[in-house]
């Protein structure tokens, strides 16, 4: 993750655009309309072009995510070890589908390409912390722990 960096510290060159968007997302969790406009003004790039860059890259979020972002790894190793079952079990437990956030803004569920921990497949990450070798029981235990803490 990029270090927290303020817009005004950056050189006004388009090659810093992605970095600027990453900084905003790091600070606020997503890129709001307001920030999009700020960035567009700062770099003198039309908002539509900034939106074009945002929508191109999977990392950027345009809506506010929940407190806990659950990333289900669907890399090849995880996939053959049942990543889709993991995803379904989370959906059943939390009532949200892939890409959704629950009504209390607590959990966001997303599928990611690969977390690079293939030997622990299937894995998920919750706010970046990886949980591996999951079965239904251990998965539900983790989810319920987070629910309780919240």
């Amino acid at each position: 993750m990029p270090e927290k960096m303020l817009l005004k510290e950056m050189e006004k060159d388009q090659s810093n655009l992605i970095r600027a968007l990453q900084s905003v997302q790091e600070n606020e969790g997503f890129v709001s309309d307001e920030r999009l406009k700020d960035i567009s003004n700062y770099f003198s790039i039309p908002p539509v072009e900034v939106e074009g860059v945002i929508s191109f890259y999977a990392q950027f979020k345009r809506t506010k995510p929940g407190k806990y972002i659950i990333s289900v790894c669907d890399g090849t190793a995880c996939h053959i070890k049942g990543a889709n079952l993991i995803s379904n079990w989370i959906s059943d437990e939390l009532g949200i589908k892939d890409g959704e956030t629950d009504s209390e803004d607590l959990f966001t569920l997303e599928t990611v390409a690969c977390l690079g921990c293939c030997s622990l497949a299937p894995v998920i990450a919750i706010n970046g912390k990886v949980y591996g070798n999951l079965e239904r029981k251990s998965l539900l235990k983790i989810l319920r722990k987070f629910k309780k803490e919240a």
Binding site: Y57, Q59, G75, T76, A77, G116, C117, S119, R136
Partner: protein
């Protein structure tokens, strides 16, 4: 006597709990130095601890943050010592990863005292063209998957007259199931940097960019520390020139692994590929001549300079020299990062290093979404660029997934197409629409709605996508489908003609069945079914059931199973 204790805190180690182990050990050990190191590649045994003694090193596996475990280690007891499975020690050849997991990744001094930066020192005594010549002699080919001769590529950039030339390290390891580059950057960041600095000398480049996936925070952190030291010790001052070094973080787009797309992304644009020519070495980043090499390619360079191109070229096959890293995972016992000499057979990797059981393996998937499947009957094929291509797969960046007999190949192909269809940047019609059409067709087949013509359609469309796409993503996207049809056409035919999935993976083609003879009527399945598809007398309503496997997982008697679809209709 214990000299120091090393804990592997690379990403896989941390995921397995190495942080907790480190914290516990540092609280409880006062008089022995404790060091965090990278990855030694034995992921199956994480968290791993290496105890350096005056009589050599002892490794412990699956270490727990507990007093008993700590005592066991301090007493150098025999239990819990790392058991290297199979013939791995004999079959592996550690060259590029020799230092990985053995040294403190961010210690400049430790890298230096292990012959680090000797390659650069040697290169600086040579003329740039002599360095390029050594790389040519070594026979090194691009490790990112393409296999283009590295020395030749360097000579293209070296020939450019532009005052500003750019080097880019491709560390956007987007292949699902691949983690070689992550491991190298986390474990030996200085080695990667040394390779780049040698390249800067050889080609006359003035700037270095490292394009890393943002999903690799530890790799970024370690590279940053390494770069700080490089600047501090002025290692980036080459023949009076000061090389500019910058890390750029990717933002999650597979296509950015393609050279021209990566350049667009570095410029802050959408990462779509450009037409070639002009090739990046003529006109790349901001119009300057640009050279892009992969992390593993750069990590090989210091070794080539240290031992000389001729010696390096002694290892490997006629057209593929040196070693290759593979991220080994899937249906096998010992997953991890392995380094093998070119020319080793796939079977040796899968069975002797990976510990997979003969007869239980159906195939390996090699090269990720751009690669293909190689069935077990071809496991005597040597690992080199040309042999793998002739089988319909590619060397790829090094993801090697072992697929067991109980997996469905049609579903595997669908999985990869789902990935490429989503990652297609949309520039070329054949890639954008073609991959989506292929995915729809595969979804139809796995849903039991396919027909035999669908298979010919897939082959035909796959061929057109290959021809009609600008970049490597589109040109290779059909590979997983084409190669599974080539070797597993019977599975496709069974799906379309008999509506059966032998592996019982395709949900629409299986039913869930409770064997009432052994059922103890505990009710756990009913309680855990999310959609109430199980009746009070323990019969599954398969028209309602979503095949989520919840009941199968909770059943204490293993009486619930997936069966071929239609098997229980009365």
């Amino acid at each position: 006597m214990i000299k120091r204790i090393k804990i592997g805190t690379g990403s896989c180690g941390v995921a397995a709990g190495a942080d907790e182990v480190f914290d516990f050990f540092s609280e409880n050990i006062k008089d022995i130095e404790l060091v965090e190191v990278g990855c030694i590649g034995h992921c199956y045994a994480e968290p791993i601890i290496e105890v350096e003694t005056d009589k050599g090193s002892i490794f412990y596996e699956k270490v727990e943050p507990k007093k008993e475990f700590l005592e066991k280690i301090l007493n150098l007891e025999n239990s819990s010592r790392l058991q290297v499975g199979g013939n791995r020690t004999k079959k592996e050849f550690l060259k590029v990863t020799e230092l990985a997991g053995k040294i403190d990744p961010v210690s400049y001094d430790e890298y230096k005292s292990n012959s680090g930066y000797n390659g650069l020192a040697k290169a600086l005594l040579m003329k740039p063209e002599e360095v390029v010549e050594q790389v040519k002699i070594s026979g090194l080919r691009g490790r990112g998957g393409g296999g283009f001769p590295t020395g030749l590529k360097w000579s293209f950039l070296a020939a450019q007259k532009d005052e500003e030339k750019v080097l880019i390290c491709n560390a956007d390891e987007g292949d699902p199931g691949a983690f070689m580059d992550r491991s190298m950057m986390e474990s030996v960041p200085h080695q990667v940097m040394e390779g780049m600095l040698i390249a800067a000398h050889a080609t006359g480049a003035s700037s270095i960019f490292i394009y890393v996936r943002a999903e690799y925070p530890l790799a970024i952190k370690n590279l940053k520390i390494a770069i700080e030291d490089i600047i501090k010790y002025k290692i980036n001052h080459i023949n009076g020139r000061k090389i500019f070094i910058k890390i750029k973080e990717g933002a999650g787009a597979f296509v950015c692994g393609e050279e021209t797309a990566m350049i667009n992304s570095l410029e802050g644009k959408r990462g779509t590929p450009r037409f070639r020519p002009p090739f990046p070495t003529d006109k790349g980043y901001k119009g300057h001549p640009t050279l892009i090499n992969n992390v593993e390619t750069f990590a090989n360079i210091p070794i080539i300079l240290r031992e000389g191109g001729t010696k390096y070229a002694k290892l490997g096959t006629k057209n593929s020299k040196g070693t290759k890293l593979f991220a080994l995972a899937g249906d096998l016992k010992y997953s991890g990062l392995v380094e093998v000499p070119m020319g080793i057979t796939i079977g040796e990797i899968v069975y002797e290093i990976g510990g997979a059981v003969k007869g239980e393996v159906k195939a390996v998937q090699i090269g990720g979404p751009s690669g293909g499947c190689i069935p077990a009957e071809h496991f005597d094929t040597p690992v080199d660029y040309d042999s793998l291509t002739s089988l319909g797969a590619i060397m790829g960046s090094g993801g090697l997934i072992v697929i067991g007999n109980n997996r469905c190949m049609v579903e595997t192909a669908r999985y990869f197409l789902d990935f490429t269809a989503r990652e297609s940047c949309g520039k070329c019609t054949f890639c954008r629409i073609g991959t989506t059409r292929m995915l729809e067709t595969l979804e139809r087949i796995t849903a039991g709605d396919g027909c035999e013509e669908d298979i010919t359609f897939l082959q035909d469309l796959g061929d057109k996508i290959k021809k009609g796409s600008l970049c490597g993503l589109g040109q290779t996207a059909p590979n997983p489908v084409i190669s599974t049809i080539r070797y597993y056409k019977d599975e496709y035919l069974r799906h379309v003609n008999e509506k059966q999935c032998n592996a019982l993976e395709c949900n629409a083609l299986v039913d869930v069945f409770i064997d009432k003879e052994n059922c103890i009527e505990c009710g756990l399945c009913i309680k855990n079914c999310p959609i109430d598809a199980i009746s009070d007398d323990f019969i599954v309503d398969n028209s309602k059931c979503t095949r989520c496997n919840s009941c199968i997982e909770v059943c204490p008697k293993n009486t619930i199973s997936r069966i071929p679809g239609g098997g229980i209709s009365e």
